[in-house]
């Protein structure tokens, strides 16, 4: 009862977060999963699509609490991990122009292209900045009227509306020295690639949290209709994930596959319509986009519409950008890991020539990548 009382007496978000990490709740859910899993007619291969989910599974040791017939497959949902070298090369080439300031988010600075990382470009004198929010790009552009400020935009459906909102603001404020190198990618296309692959074992999905806040759960409806596999949209906290796993297990045990939302605190069917409209105003799908580890996936990424060409860094800097695709390192098994065929520990270079300090492949690059998570939390042979 004590805990119940504290739930009602709390007034701050810190408590909410702490509760979703409550050890007793996690263990209680784990016990329930173990009991239910004994009724499973076959092994459950769950793909957690989002890199944030991979991170939670590893950080809280949740995979160790799961029975042997439940397997976690780490999916392609880390925007840094799946960024192909040729796009990083383009950012590098733009950043090396003398009148340019390049801005980006996340771990993008460390990711190696074939010319080096953006961090390397910075060590050579390129002006490259890391943003807390894309909105800061406005300030940078206003303070540097004689420079071309380029926002190297990355991320899935979660961050795409922020890029659209930034462009809208730049237009409103008549800022003419802010340009966009768009690398926004979509969640459903790689899922079709993975689920269509003959050797994949994936038979259930833990769908992303914050992608779904924007898109709504409706984006997974066609996937459910095609493959009839259990799908649960899950929150990020360890308790969320354990509850989602339990929901998947129960769907299989009861032979009632469906698309469910565990993260109903913030996810609904239709998502954030205003954000979706903003994205549609400024962007359209690309015919082709090369995913690191997965290869070319048609209509899996976005670009600016033609009417916004004067803001499009790919057009403005077209003459200096290299266009050819670059093959992934052959020793690295990132592609197999993303397809759920291999685990990080199956890769011969994992933890040896491939480490977070010197990543060979995409899964080791970002802290949200499967290999980086295994490495950080001590999963070794």
């Amino acid at each position: 009862m004590k805990k119940n009382m504290s739930i009602h007496s709390t007034k701050n978000s810190a408590f909410l977060i702490n509760s979703f990490r409550d050890k007793n709740t996690i263990l209680a859910l784990a016990e329930k999963i173990v009991i239910e899993s004994k009724k499973l007619p076959h092994d459950l291969y769950m793909m957690e699509v989002c890199g944030g989910h991979t991170h939670t599974l590893m950080k809280y040791g949740l995979t160790k609490l799961l029975p042997k017939n439940i397997h976690c497959i780490h999916g392609p949902g880390c925007p840094v991990c799946i960024m192909p070298k040729n796009r990083i090369n383009q950012a590098y080439e733009i950043a090396m122009q003398k009148d340019v300031i390049l801005l980006t988010l996340g771990d993008m600075l460390k990711v190696p292209g074939s010319k080096g990382s953006l961090q390397h470009a910075r060590s050579l004198g390129a002006e490259i900045g890391f943003l807390y929010s894309p909105l800061q790009a406005i300030e940078v552009a206003q303070k540097n009227p004689n420079k071309k400020v380029v926002y190297f935009a990355i991320g899935f459906e979660t961050t795409t509306p922020m890029t659209a909102a930034l462009l809208q603001k730049a237009i409103e404020l008549k800022i003419n020295n802010l340009f966009f190198h768009i690398n926004h990618v979509l969640v459903p296309p790689p899922l079709y690639t993975i689920l269509d692959s003959k050797d994949t074992k994936v038979n259930s999905l833990i769908a992303p949290s914050h992608v779904s806040v924007i898109t709504g759960s409706k984006i997974y409806e066609p996937i459910f209709e095609k493959y009839q596999i259990p799908i649960v949209v899950s929150g990020f906290e360890p308790v969320d994930m354990m509850q989602s796993i339990l929901m998947l297990v129960q769907q299989v045990v009861n032979n009632t596959p469906k698309l469910e939302i565990q993260y109903s605190r913030v996810v609904n069917t239709n998502g954030n319509l205003k954000a979706q409209k903003l994205v549609k105003t400024f962007m359209e799908t690309r015919e082709e986009f090369q995913w690191r580890g997965l290869g070319n996936i048609p209509y899996s990424a976005l670009r600016l519409k033609k009417e916004f060409a004067k803001y499009d860094a790919e057009i403005i800097f077209d003459s200096i950008l290299s266009k050819e695709n670059i093959q992934d390192n052959r020793a690295c098994r990132c592609g197999d890991i993303l397809r759920g065929i291999a685990k990080p520990l199956d890769c011969k270079v994992f933890g040896k020539s491939c480490t977070p300090q010197n990543p060979l492949g995409s899964c080791m690059v970002s802290s949200e990548g499967a290999c980086a998570a295994y490495y950080k939390y001590g999963y070794t042979n």
């Binding site: 978000s13 016990e31 909105l135 914050h210």
Partner: protein, 88 residues
């Protein structure tokens, strides 16, 4: 990259369409440009790279917590059925 943090709205600046939100004791400004619903002071929101992306229904969050709590209590009642291997 995709982590968004629950935050409480402290104040709203309608002229700039921004809100000051508090996240784990830290206050910062966030854009309301992606919000379709009106936000009120004291409400909880999800903050992601400087933008408020949605409201969090506090009642919903507390209700989920209550469910988890009940689950623990139920588990305690069913203790004899729990595989001893997984007792921690």
């Amino acid at each position: 990259m995709c982590l968004a943090i629950p935050s409480q709205v402290i104040s709203i600046d309608k002229s700039k369409n921004t809100a000051t939100v508090e996240t784990l004791g830290v206050q910062r400004e966030a854009s309301l440009d992606l919000m379709q619903d009106e936000i009120k002071i004291g409400e909880y929101v999800l903050l992601h790279i400087g933008y408020i992306m949605s409201k969090i229904d506090k009642e919903d969050a507390l209700e989920s917590l209550k469910l988890y709590q009940q689950m623990i209590e139920n588990m305690e009642d069913e203790e004899e059925y729990v595989d001893p291997l997984y007792k921690k």
